[in-house]
């Protein structure tokens, strides 16, 4: 079943907004509860894991509410909740949630009737945002000086590259491949879960 766009650009109904609110709250709950554990335990790729889970919920919403803008709205609700949560007045996670949901929204926006492929691509686009996010943040905070630092790091690494060449490539492949795989899995799961939810709520 494809999550088609029934009324592109139309206002959301009250029911749609309530669904968006519940899914946004669920993403917020994942960020604050599971996110706290993952950050405390220093789990690798925790950002990609949290983004994948969040996009799973937001894309589920896209199946339940087949209107353009749903994924971005769920992300906006989550970002606002994140801003409200105690001790988390940081713009970086807020911007990350908004950018990731915007990337996923842009992908599903391109399809009139997004199916499994569109959902997988949307999930992948969203989680790939987590790969680019640290570089964007460092660029914003450090400015053009960061380019000089990257240049120095590349030069320094190049001196020992013959020894570490294989390891560096493996790290690069992991850094991109793992978030990508998580995003694709989240998109596909969102499509299935959303369809099952739709059937269950219809009864």
């Amino acid at each position: 079943m494809a999550a088609g766009d029934v009324t592109g650009g139309a206002h959301f109904s009250t029911r749609d907004l309530v669904y968006i609110a519940i899914l946004g709250a669920a993403w917020g709950l994942v960020e604050t509860s599971l996110g706290t554990y993952l950050h405390a335990l220093r789990v690798p790729f925790r950002g990609a894991v949290l983004t994948a889970l969040g996009l799973l919920l937001a894309l589920c919403g896209r199946v339940l509410i087949p209107r353009r803008g749903t994924v971005l709205m769920v992300g906006a609700v989550t970002a606002a909740l994140r801003l409200l949560s105690v001790g988390a007045v940081l713009l970086s996670p807020l911007a990350a949630i908004l950018i990731e949901s915007l990337l996923a929204e842009l992908v599903v926006w391109a399809w009139a009737r997004p199916g499994r492929v569109a959902f997988a691509l949307a999930g992948a686009a969203g989680t790939l945002g987590t790969v680019a996010h640290p570089f964007v943040t460092q660029g914003l905070v450090g400015g053009s000086g960061v380019i000089a630092v990257y240049g120095w790091l590349i030069e320094s690494t190049a001196r020992v590259l013959p020894l570490l060449g294989g390891v560096v490539w493996l790290l690069v492949v992991c850094a991109v491949g793992i978030p990508l795989a998580l995003g694709i899995a989240a998109g596909l799961l969102a499509h299935d879960l959303g369809t099952r939810l739709q059937e269950r709520l219809a009864h």
Binding site: H11, R15, V18, G24, L83, V141, S144, G145
Partner: protein, 231 residues
């Protein structure tokens, strides 16, 4: 102590603080040499004059670690210890630290001074209609959702946990939690409609430019021109 806040500074809103944040990001690129150190000083002065008395990030160890890290990496990249004069070797790390401090403090001021309702109104103005309503519902739903998730998880554990097929159990767990939570949607819709709420008719007062916003933006623009021209 006499309050030295600017007259009308209390009327600085979301646009004013956004201008300060954008200025902190853009100004360092326009200012050469030691003039960059005016950027964090200006951000501190503007934040203080608009009522900020405490910057969260300054009390956070991570901020100082970030600044120290930038200084060390910048010094290494700037050629410190490789025979370059100390002054030129330290220029890069000091510029980076000044910029980072300005951006962090401006972001801190933005996050601390702008109410979430204003941000939601800004979102509504940007085309995310119904965001304020959805945010209100989400805030009320959060504890219910937490309880529901706790109960469903407990029920699963009492039946033997995730079992031999943890993936399938997790999928069922997520489906049950979401179905139970979304099942409550009808009650919320009826409650909202009983109060005559309709998304098409709901009028959220959008954030307008305030006199303080204009004053702050104009002041920053003039100050930038002065710094660029006079130095």
């Amino acid at each position: 102590m006499r309050d030295l806040r600017l007259r009308g500074a209390g009327s600085v809103g979301v646009y004013g603080y956004a201008c300060l944040l954008v200025w902190a990001l853009v100004a360092p690129a326009l200012l050469q040499g030691p003039r960059i150190y005016w950027v964090p000083c200006t951000v501190i002065a503007a934040s203080w004059l608009t009522g900020t008395r405490r910057w969260r990030s300054l009390g956070d160890l991570r901020t100082w670690l970030l600044l120290a890290g930038l200084a060390l990496v910048g010094a290494a990249a700037g050629g410190w210890g490789s025979g370059r004069p100390l002054q030129s070797a330290l220029e890069l790390p000091l510029r980076m630290v000044a910029r980072a401090l300005a951006v962090l403090l401006a972001a801190d001021t933005f996050a601390g001074r702008v109410p979430v309702s204003d941000l939601a109104a800004l979102g509504e103005g940007a085309g995310l209609g119904g965001l304020s309503f959805a945010l209100g519902v989400a805030m009320n739903t959060l504890p219910v959702l937490e309880r529901t998730a706790g109960r469903v998880w407990m029920a699963l554990r009492l039946r033997g946990g995730l079992g031999r097929r943890p993936w399938r159990a997790c999928s069922r767990l997520a489906l049950t939690i979401l179905a139970l939570s979304l099942g409550r949607a009808q009650e919320i819709v009826e409650a909202a409609e009983a109060r005559a709420f309709s998304p098409g008719r709901a009028s959220v007062k959008g954030s307008a430019w305030k006199s303080g916003d204009l004053g702050l933006a104009l002041g920053l623009a003039l100050w930038t021109v002065a710094l660029v021209l006079v130095g």
